[in-house]
């Protein structure tokens, strides 16, 4: 008899996913599937709209990282417009991008992944969530709230509102920064860096306490991709794409607009999310990881001092080789949050930051535009084709988490095989399977530009595939 374990929905992630684990008669894992159960159709339904609406339409792909889409769309639209964006506008866009990094990474670490790391994988599901965290460690929870609020406030102060702002438009941005806003944001940088460092201690302590388990947890080789600039420094806003191999050496570097020559997407029947891979290596060799761990493995350094200190430590975690265990995503994520805070400060102290020269509008001059940016979860590509008047003819989007699809499937498989022995499966084990996914902080609404259906159900089928019995978990 084979058994199918279904975890649905996967919680404490963004979007819709379910996991099915197929066991053989001995209770060993035969096959796992990470099903992404969401499809919206942005690549089709934007056809026929005027291109300048895309920076407002595409953020609705995701409510956690709308700024990433807003900016990637604006960058693609800049190319269609064909006019240079004033320096201050680029700085302001990067500033809200940093705000989003801070907000998203902090929220993920403390509120989504945090409950496992602070309360434990096996804690009672009823308290294993942000509310439980609030009750168990109110001080920490409050800091988490403040961190997220700070990142959101940067976006609000600069762009007018926290979620789905109307700010970046073709040719620049539609507002400038007031001295009051700048000072308010600057004032809190140090406090926030201190909070993130508390998070760093938590993850390092967790890793320390479970070193063997962590190093083996969803650890597997892959390639790694991220934006870099200045010869290998990690870059989140505007750079060139670097693909590094499993041994950490650079395989290729290319300007984002050539992505089609380097990246292809495969479709599998059991997921709405496609599987990107690096074309020169093909499928499956060419699968790579993005997001904090991917970016860290692909780059040589990070551009701000405190972050660089931790970055250096990170790079030693696997003896100088690329760090492969998925748990280290949490560490890299926090280091990136430190970078984002330091970079935000740099931007705010720039002499041009208060300038009102932020907009360079005009008529459409090009019929294609590609915008590339590093979203919190990975590299984001927006590609639009328009007619001579700027009406959208076609759109192609490869969204951050999509690049990690293969990796998440691997992670789930890895953890399922590692922890599931026999037909008696404690709840904590199922949570670890979900935890493997959570390392990637997936944004599944994003990646499928297209209460669960069921609770966890264990279904038993006989060898002819006929249903025998089922058991539900509340």
């Amino acid at each position: 008899m084979t058994k199918k374990i279904t975890i649905s929905p996967v919680t404490r992630i963004e979007g819709h996913a379910k996991v099915t684990i197929h066991l053989d008669d001995e209770g060993r894992v035969e096959r796992t599937y990470f099903h992404v159960n969401q499809f919206r159709g942005y690549e089709k339904f934007t056809e026929g709209r005027f291109y300048d609406e895309l920076p407002m339409i595409t953020p609705r792909i995701c409510g956690i990282c709308p700024v990433s889409h807003h900016l990637a769309a604006a960058k693609a639209c800049d190319e269609i417009l064909g006019r240079p964006v004033p320096r201050t506008a680029a700085l302001l866009r990067e500033l809200i991008h940093m705000g989003q990094m801070i907000q998203s990474h902090a929220m993920h670490f403390f509120e989504l992944a945090g409950p496992d790391l602070v309360l434990g994988w096996d804690a009672d599901p009823a308290v294993r969530n942000v509310v439980g965290l609030v009750r168990a460690n109110p001080e920490l929870a409050l800091k988490a709230v403040k961190l997220r609020k700070y990142g959101q406030t940067i976006i609000e102060e600069v762009a007018g509102r926290r979620i789905h702002p109307s700010f970046a438009i073709p040719g620049g941005v539609n507002a400038s920064l007031s001295p009051g806003s700048r000072d308010r944001i600057l004032k809190q940088v140090d406090e926030m860096i201190a909070y993130i460092r508390e998070g760093v201690s938590i993850i390092l302590a967790f890793i320390e306490a479970h070193k063997e388990e962590c190093d083996a947890f969803a650890a597997f080789p892959s390639a790694y991709m991220g934006l870099v600039k200045d010869g290998g420094a990690l870059e989140l806003y505007d750079g060139i794409v670097r693909m590094a191999g499993r041994d950490g050496r650079v395989l290729d570097e290319f300007a984002g607009k050539y992505y089609l020559s380097h990246i292809a997407e495969k479709v599998d029947d059991w997921s709405y999310l496609k599987f990107p891979y690096f074309k020169p290596l093909g499928d499956p060799e060419g699968h790579y990881r993005v997001g904090p761990l991917g970016r860290f493995n692909a780059s040589d350094r990070i551009g701000t001092p405190l972050a660089q200190e931790e970055f250096g430590k990170f790079k030693t975690m696997n003896g100088g080789k690329p760090v492969e265990s998925s748990v280290y995503y949490h560490y890299a994520r926090l280091i990136e949050a430190v970078y984002a805070l330091e970079r935000a400060r740099e931007i705010l102290e720039d002499g041009d930051i208060l300038s009102r020269d932020v907009l360079n509008p005009g008529p459409v001059t090009n019929e294609e535009g590609i915008g590339v940016i590093e979203a919190p979860r990975g590299t984001l590509f927006h590609h639009y084709w328009v007619d001579e008047r700027g009406t959208v003819k076609k759109a192609n989007l490869i969204v951050a988490t999509g690049h990690n699809n293969w990796a998440m499937s691997q992670a789930v498989d890895n953890v399922a095989r590692g922890y599931i022995q026999g037909h008696d499966i404690p709840e904590g084990v199922l949570n670890r399977v979900e935890g493997a996914i959570r390392c990637y902080d997936p944004c599944l609404s994003c990646s499928t530009h297209a209460i669960g259906r069921m609770p966890v159900v264990v279904e038993v089928y006989d060898h002819e595939g006929a249903f025998v019995a089922s058991r539900e978990r509340a």
């Binding site: 649905s8 929905p9 919680t11 404490r12 992630i13 819709h16 379910k18 099915t20 599937y33 099903h35 159960n37 969401q38 499809f39 919206r40 159709g41 690549e43 089709k44 339904f45 934007t46 953020p59 609705r60 792909i61 995701c62 409510g63 956690i64 709308p66 989504l112 599901p125 009823a126 294993r128 969530n129 509310v131 929870a141 409050l142 709230v145 403040k146 997220r148 609020k149 959101q152 926290r162 979620i163 789905h164 992505y259 089609l260 997407e265 495969k266 479709v267 029947d269 059991w270 709405y272 496609k274 990107p276 192609n396 490869i398 297209a450 209460i451 669960g452 259906r453 978990r473 509340a474």
Partner: protein, 180 residues
């Protein structure tokens, strides 16, 4: 202290409304102090709300057969259903796919996109089947209260929850009511 149990789910949304919920910042902690209890939500680990849950909050429009089931299940288990955000309230931005056939949408997503190689639309029974038309929640189940917005402001969410916790029926007006 009387607790008010809430459950939530997101259907065809972007999670922005849940993020706006978190944008209540410290006020969320205040509401928890007043008796707000989160049961099954996307950010907690309970997968299914208990029967008799006080408030069921739905973000997102109904776009697949899975969503339809989910929404009906929540209606059964919750005394009050609140539609949160333009997608749940009006149908929202994902209704832009209603002007295309499901075949056209899947074809573009999985076959003709320039980066896709040898693709065909996924057919696994584990995945939700796309409904021909994306629907607002009130086209599937009865909704007791609506909070429009894309996303609704955190102030509106706070106002509604606070009123409900204190036993009053909320009313949205002025800055708390907007469609964008």
């Amino acid at each position: 202290m009387k607790t008010v149990k809430i459950a939530s789910t997101w259907c065809e949304g972007c999670s922005g409304c849940h993020m706006s919920f978190l944008d209540m910042d410290e006020r969320l902690v205040e509401l928890i102090g007043k008796g707000l209890e989160l049961t099954a939500t996307p950010i907690t680990d309970l997968k299914i709300p208990p029967l008799g849950t006080d408030i069921g909050i739905i973000e997102g429009s109904v776009a697949t057969d899975h969503h339809e089931e989910e929404v009906k299940e929540l209606r059964k288990r919750c005394k009050l259903i609140v539609a949160l955000g333009d997608c749940a309230v009006f149908g929202g931005i994902h209704t832009m796919r209603n002007y295309f056939t499901v075949e056209e949408l899947l074809e573009r997503g999985y076959v003709s996109t320039e980066s896709t190689v040898n693709g065909t639309p996924p057919t696994s029974p584990e995945l939700g089947k796309l409904l021909p038309k994306v629907l607002a929640v009130n086209e599937v189940v009865k909704v007791d209260f609506y909070i429009p917005g894309c996303p609704p402001p955190a102030d509106a969410i706070y106002h509604v929850l606070n009123e409900l916790i204190e036993g009053r029926m909320p009313k949205l007006e002025g800055k708390l009511l907007h469609y964008d």
